[in-house]
Symmetry: C2
Subunit: 157 residues, 2 copies
DNA sequence: GGAAATTAGTTACAATTGTAACTAATTTCC
DNA sequence: GGAAATTAGTTACAATTGTAACTAATTTCC
């Protein structure tokens, strides 16, 4: 049926992943922002700091694949709302260590169950075998995608 | 190790899917735009019209999960570049049917192998079993995500 | 038959995001 | 020891995207 030059967008993996991820992210984003006034980047920074306190903005970039500007903006916002605290590093005064404030921790503790429930709702449709397969597959694809991107062109990022 | 309130962002499915999809999409986007001056929305419109000529902008929206404004913009751009052709529908003059021009088809024919190669590079890391599992899993997750989104809040989109 | 409601698509404006240039601190290396 | 290069983080500006209001055509329904 499909001509040889035809791609069948509906079955094209990058397209399907993009639709899937956007559907999930925008559902969650609208929920977070409605309930907690948190954007996705802010929520990510919160989550990383809950996991590993006293790291720098650059560390957050490295762990989240977020751009350093995006991190800077999210951090500025969370600081303004006093959800996190910034402490200059004595040994290198360009850096600051960040960690959650008491109220940031409370906020995080409130968001986590909501986030977990989303994930659970998604995973509930899958058999244990499929869940394991998904973990494996996403891992492989992430690795390959990371290599593919920079390799293809000339952008040295 | 992880405290009970901790989410472990690195294992959080929505987060992993988002990083995966963004990595893939931005690699492809930079490649498309460098070689063909095509944005992702433009490429999607092109692909849908290659698959199904003579449909309306609204039809494209419905098939791609793109917002109608995004479609309108991509269409305007492709029209300006004469990659597609617009013909008013006699029976309902609010609508127009769109289809690829000869040069649009050539452009599409050039992009397809590049797109396919990307997909292939990704899939090459997976066993046939995993590929089949991925198809199934993405399908299930898409369905669940579609239900989850609107159900959670009050946005009637 | 015609006012009120709906629909396709566009335009205007606001918010978000990406890129480049920048400041200030530190490191490298002659 | 100090000029040149590097690094952390921010700021300014441009490009992209989302939302709301709009125009023009059509449909509904009294």
């Amino acid at each position: 049926m499909a001509r040889p030059t035809d791609l069948q967008l509906a079955w094209f993996l990058p397209y399907r992943l993009s639709v899937l991820s956007n559907t999930i992210s925008s559902a969650m984003a609208s929920d977070y922002s409605r309930r907690f006034k948190l954007s996705i980047p802010e929520w990510r920074v919160l989550a990383v700091l809950a996991d590993t306190p006293n790291i720098t903005a650059a560390d957050i970039s490295a762990r989240t694949a977020m751009d350093k500007v995006a991190v800077s903006r999210a951090v500025a916002d969370l600081l303004a709302r006093e959800a996190i605290v910034r402490a200059p590093v004595a040994a290198d005064r360009r850096k600051s260590h960040l960690c959650l404030s008491a109220s940031g921790m409370r906020m995080y503790a409130e968001v986590v169950p909501v986030a977990r429930r989303y994930e659970q709702e998604l995973l509930n449709g899958l058999t244990p075998t499929d869940r394991a397969a998904l973990d494996r597959i996403v891992h492989v694809l992430l690795e390959r995608a990371a290599v593919l991107g920079p390799a293809e062109g000339d952008n040295p990022r």
